[in-house]
């Protein structure tokens, strides 16, 4: 069988030495190229740890992580990241914020001076795609939280990463803004088709966006269930009102409850 684009096999991650917290254990996960996968689970189950392992920010304590057929042993420049906190730089305007990765990632870094106009056009196109045209010269603090998060998504995508890692990117937004951004995210994905791993605790979000939802157990986290999501694209808010969608969310909810119950039994004296 051909190796998946992202292939994590039997990975363990422990913080703070031998006696430290075990965040992940026996975690295996395979994601095909161009697939949109959501990882859901109870809080503190090591979802964010998984992200850092895949992007090579931290090495796993045990096991192996492969991305695009290569073992990950350092930061991956083919990855883009976005977090719950938009972390835009307040001294740069939106356009310059979005272009930040181009100043860091090779080969763009070397070509930035020569092809600046071209890169700027790409950034403007991306901003237009998320509905931020006209805001290029504004500063982050002049934008609402939802708009900042849109810009943050653009920053994650500007260097055309093949892998996009999202760590609860919409977690801090109100429900209406969040639903708007689901649609924006889906549009970006359909336009660029990167491989996406979305870590979230919002089951509707996972069901709306993903091709496949993975459920993680509580700490130490591992994948305990997997569910394909076959709603046709482009999904709309109408999709979320269908019975199938509701049933799916319900099912995922049950799986997570099971995971937590199992943990309580294990913890009982």
């Amino acid at each position: 069988m051909a190796q998946a684009f992202v292939d994590i096999s039997n990975v363990a991650m422990r913080y703070g030495g031998v006696e430290g917290t075990l965040a992940l254990k026996g975690t295996s996960l395979a994601v095909a190229e161009g697939e949109f996968v959501a990882v859901v689970g109870p809080s503190g189950c090591g979802k964010s740890t998984l992200m850092r392992l895949v992007t090579g920010l931290w090495p796993p304590t045990e096991g192996e992580v492969f991305v695009d057929g290569q073992e990950v042993d350092g930061p991956l420049s083919i990855a883009g990241m976005a977090f719950q906190n938009p972390t835009l730089l307040p001294w740069r305007n939106i356009l310059d914020n979005v272009m930040l990765p181009l100043e860091v990632v090779q080969p763009h870094r070397g070509q930035l001076r020569a092809k600046r106009a071209d890169y700027e056009r790409q950034a403007r196109e991306l901003l237009a795609l998320v509905g931020l045209d006209g805001f290029e010269a504004k500063f982050p603090w002049q934008l609402s939280g939802g708009m900042q998060q849109r810009a943050s998504l653009c920053r994650a995508l500007i260097h055309q990463p093949r892998l996009l890692m999202l760590d609860e990117p919409f977690g801090a937004l109100d429900i209406f803004t969040r639903e708007d951004l689901w649609a924006v995210m889906q549009k970006l994905w359909l336009a660029r088709r990167p491989t996406v791993i979305l870590v979230t605790h919002d089951l509707r979000e996972a069901a709306f966006l993903a091709d496949r939802v993975l459920v993680m157990s509580s700490r130490p986290g591992r994948i305990i269930a997997e569910r394909r999501v076959d709603f046709p694209r482009e999904r709309t808010m109408e999709t979320t009102y269908t019975k199938e969608f509701q049933d799916l969310v319900h099912e995922l909810r049950d799986r997570i409850s099971d995971a937590r119950d199992a943990e309580e039994i294990a913890d009982a004296p």
Binding site: A79, T87, W91, V104, F139, H159
Partner: protein, 277 residues
């Protein structure tokens, strides 16, 4: 007065203008008022000039001694600014190094704090032994007293880069130097300018301390000579000129700060607008 009229845009704009004018004039009014009360108190209670001279006597002394005052305050300004410039260069460099390396921080910080706790008056005699009385001890005292706040602030700004942002950049393959250049340094700038405002005022303290201990020029030296002759109005003239120089340098620092790091103080405009309405 009808409420409608108060709320009209013209009325609001006029009120905001009045308020801004008041804000601009207020410091001068306060200073003028202080001198008036001072003058009145000295006259009413018939205080002797060698205890507390009246502002008018100080002004007369300034006119009389304008030439020595000018040359000596120029000397003080020069030593202070040179010491301060050295503090900026050294403070920035050390701040960046300490802020970006935990090892350097752990190793150097206790020493820095110990160093900063030493009263600089006690260091001046040593500087005099090394460099002779005069220019260099004053410059170095100004430097020694003013670099510490700069180091601490720059280091704080760099060390407190958000972990997520660090992850975003590291995941892109950014080197530690990249992270300092793109994020750490710009982020540290508001801290840096805040420290400059403290540093420039203590730099004056440093050079004047040194001048009063061992120097043959400078405003501190002038005040020392004047007090030994019981020319108290001249001592006060020196004090006031020192204050004016301090405010002027502070103003320069604030102006540069506003030009370069306006993004960090943007919140301050809002309450001002809000109080106009």
């Amino acid at each position: 007065m009808p409420r409608k009229a108060l709320r009209s845009p013209e009325a609001l704009a006029a009120a905001a203008r009045r308020r801004r004018r008041l804000e601009a004039w207020l410091p001068w009014l306060v200073i003028g008022g202080m001198f008036l009360i001072w003058e009145a108190a000295v006259r009413i209670f018939a205080i002797q000039p060698f205890i507390l001279p009246a502002p008018s006597a100080i002004a007369a002394s300034m006119v009389k001694w304008w030439q020595p005052l000018l040359t000596n305050s120029w000397a003080t300004l020069l030593t202070t600014v040179i010491g301060f410039a050295m503090a900026i260069v050294f403070g920035l460099l050390l701040g960046v190094v300490i802020g970006s390396s935990v090892l350097v921080y752990r190793g150097l910080y206790p020493l820095l704090i110990a160093f900063n706790s030493v009263p600089k008056v006690a260091v001046v005699p040593i500087l005099v032994i090394w460099f002779g009385a005069g220019f260099w001890p004053a410059v170095l005292t100004a430097f020694l007293i003013s670099f510490f706040p700069i180091v601490v602030n720059v280091a704080t700004g760099i060390a407190t880069v958000e972990p997520e942002l660090r992850d975003v950049l590291r995941a892109l393959g950014a080197s530690p130097t990249d992270i300092i250049r793109k994020v750490g340094l710009p982020r540290a700038m508001p801290y840096f300018f805040a420290s400059l405002k403290v540093a420039i005022t203590v730099a004056f303290v440093g050079s004047i301390i040194s001048e009063t201990v061992a120097a043959n020029e400078g405003i501190g030296h002038l005040m020392l000579v004047a007090s030994s002759r019981f020319d108290v109005p001249l001592v006060f003239a020196g004090l006031i000129i020192t204050g004016v120089m301090g405010v002027a340098m502070y103003w320069v620092a604030v102006t540069i700060e506003e030009r370069t790091t306006g993004w960090a103080t943007r919140g301050q405009q809002d309450p001002r607008l809000a109080t106009g309405g």
